[in-house]
C-alpha cells in the first residue's frame, strides 16, 4: 500500500512561508492499493491538489470521511473530479440519527456557504454511512469505528493482505483516563490501531499546551505516543498539526517526540511527523521498522 499525505494540518488551513515544509492544508491522505484503486482519507483542503494530480485517470473514487468538521470536508467543493461527468465518487462517513450523510454535507455545499449545491455537481456522487462491520473496497478491507472526539467521529483501519494502515486523525483517547494504566479494552481506538504497520494519529498539542485544550478532542504528545506504544503500531506518523505550529517549531517538536518515543522503548525510525507530499510504501516501512 502506498501512502501519500496531501494535508496534515488540523483545525484550519494555515498557509505561509513559515509552514511550507509541513504544509498548511488540512487533513487528506491518499492510499494506493495494489489493484490500482485509490482510497482518500478525509477531504480537507489537501484534497484539492490530490484531485488535480488524479487528472483523468481515476473514474471511481472512494472518500472515507472520519467526521464532518470543516477541516475534514472543506476541500470537497474544490475537488476537481466532482466537476467531471465521468467521475463516480462514493463518500463514506459516520451515520447520525439526526440527518443523512448527504444532508449533513449539503449544509456546507449549499448557499450561502457555497456557490453550488450537491445536486448540481455533474459527477455521479453517492453518500453512504459506514457499515457496522468490515467491508471491502477493491483489494482492501475497511473497518470503521467510533473514537473519542467531539461529535460522531470515526477512525479507519484499511487492510490489504497482511498490511494495515490505521488512520485516526482526531482523537483524544486519554480524556478522563490515563492511557498508560488503562486496560486495553477500555482504550478508544485500540482495536483499530492494534498491530497496524502504520498508524496515522492525532498529535495536535504539546504536553504544555494540552491543559488549556482538554476536551477539545485532540491528543497531546504524551498520549499520542502512549497510544502508539500500547497498540503496538509498527510505525507512527503524528498528524493534525496545530495551525500555530510552524516548521521550525515542528522540527523541534519532532526531536522531543523521538526522545520520548525512545524512552518508551520505540525506535527513532518508527516515528515521524506527517508532512505534505510525504510518500511512503507501507510494506517498505514495515521492513524499515523491523530493521
Amino acid at each position: 500500500m502506498k501512502v501519500k499525505v496531501w494535508g496534515a494540518r488540523g483545525s484550519v488551513p494555515s498557509p505561509g512561508p513559515e509552514m511550507n515544509r509541513y504544509g498548511g492544508n488540512t487533513s487528506c491522505v491518499e492510499l494506493k492499493l495494489s489493484d490500482g484503486e485509490t482510497l482518500i482519507l478525509d477531504a480537507g483542503t489537501g484534497i484539492r491538489s490530490l484531485g488535480v494530480a488524479l487528472a483523468a485517470g481515476m473514474p471511481n473514487i472512494n472518500i472515507l470521511l472520519t467526521h464532518l468538521h470543516l477541516d475534514h470536508i472543506q476541500g470537497l467543493m474544490f475537488f476537481p473530479p466532482c466537476f467531471k461527468t465521468d467521475s463516480r465518487i462514493t463518500i463514506w462517513g459516520p451515520s447520525s440519527p439526526e440527518a443523512s450523510l448527504e444532508h449533513r454535507i449539503a449544509r456546507y455545499i449549499s448557499a450561502p456557504l457555497s456557490p453550488v449545491e450537491v445536486r448540481e455537481l455533474p459527477c455521479d456522487v453517492s453518500f453512504l454511512d459506514t457499515p457496522a462491520s468490515e467491508w471491502e473496497i477493491g483489494s482492501a478491507r475497511i473497518r470503521a469505528e467510533s473514537v473519542t472526539h467531539r461529535g460522531p467521529t470515526l477512525g479507519y483501519r484499511i487492510t490489504e493482505g497482511d498490511t494495515s494502515v490505521c488512520y485516526i486523525p482526531d482523537h483524544e483517547p486519554g480524556l478522563g483516563a490515563p492511557l498508560d494504566g488503562l486496560e486495553q479494552e477500555w482504550i478508544s481506538g485500540y482495536d483499530l490501531a492494534h498491530g497496524a504497520q502504520l498508524l496515522i494519529h492525532d498529535c495536535q498539542y504539546t504536553d504544555e499546551e494540552y491543559p488549556d485544550h482538554v476536551g477539545w478532542g485532540h491528543s497531546p504528545l504524551a498520549d499520542a505516543l502512549t497510544f502508539a506504544r500500547r497498540t503496538e503500531a509498527e510505525r507512527v506518523m503524528l498528524f493534525h498539526h496545530d495551525p500555530l505550529h510552524t516548521d521550525d517549531f515542528l522540527d523541534s517538536f519532532l526531536g522531543t517526540a523521538v526522545e520520548r518515543w525512545e524512552a518508551l522503548g520505540g525506535g527513532a525510525t518508527q516515528l515521524e511527523l506527517a508532512a505534505e507530499r510525504r510518500e511512503l510504501e507501507v510494506g517498505a516501512a514495515r521492513e524499515l521498522a523491523a530493521g
Binding site: 473519542t148 480524556l175 486495553q184 479494552e185 477500555w186 478508544s188 482495536d191
Partner: protein, 140 residues
C-alpha cells in the same frame, strides 16, 4: 483483530465515572457490572479493582438491596435492570449492605445507554440518604 474493545459509549461513560465523586455503576448490554467508581467503592466497602466484574444476579445480591420491610429486592426490580430491560430511566430508594457490614439507605437513578445499534449498557448513580447527605445536598 481481537474485537475485545468496549463500545465507545461505554468507554466514555467509564471515563466520566472515574472523573466524578458521585457514586456510580456501569453495566454492559447483558447487565454485567463492568465498573464502579471510587466513590461507589467507598460506599460499598470494597474498590472495584478488588470486587471485579460480576454477572447481574451476583451484583444484585451481593450488596442487598433491601426494601423498607427488610425484604431483599429482586434483581429484576432494580433500577439498572429496568433501565436495561425497558430502555427507560428508572429510580428507586432502598438499603444496601457494604462489604464491611455497614448498611446505607440510598437513592438510585439509572439510565440506559442507547446507540443506533441498540442499548449497549446502562449506568446508575446512587446517593446515600442516611448520613446527613440527603437528596437536598446531592449537588455537593
Amino acid at each position: 483483530m481481537e474485537g475485545a474493545q468496549k463500545p465507545l459509549e461505554l468507554i466514555l461513560a467509564r471515563n466520566l465515572l472515574t472523573s466524578i465523586s458521585t457514586p456510580a455503576f456501569l453495566v454492559d448490554h447483558a447487565g454485567v457490572l463492568m465498573f464502579y467508581n471510587e466513590a461507589a467503592g467507598a460506599l460499598l466497602g470494597i474498590p472495584f479493582e478488588e470486587a471485579g466484574r460480576m454477572g447481574p444476579e451476583e451484583w444484585g445480591m451481593r450488596f442487598g438491596p433491601f426494601g423498607s420491610d427488610g425484604e431483599r429486592i429482586p434483581y429484576q426490580e432494580l433500577p439498572l435492570t429496568v433501565a436495561l430491560r425497558d430502555g427507560r430511566p428508572a429510580h428507586a430508594s432502598f438499603r444496601i449492605r457494604s462489604a464491611n457490614g455497614e448498611e446505607h439507605d440510598i437513592a438510585v437513578s439509572a439510565m440506559p445507554i442507547a446507540t443506533d445499534e441498540g442499548t449497549s449498557g446502562a449506568l446508575a448513580i446512587f446517593w446515600p440518604v442516611d448520613d446527613g447527605r440527603g437528596s437536598g445536598e446531592a449537588g455537593r
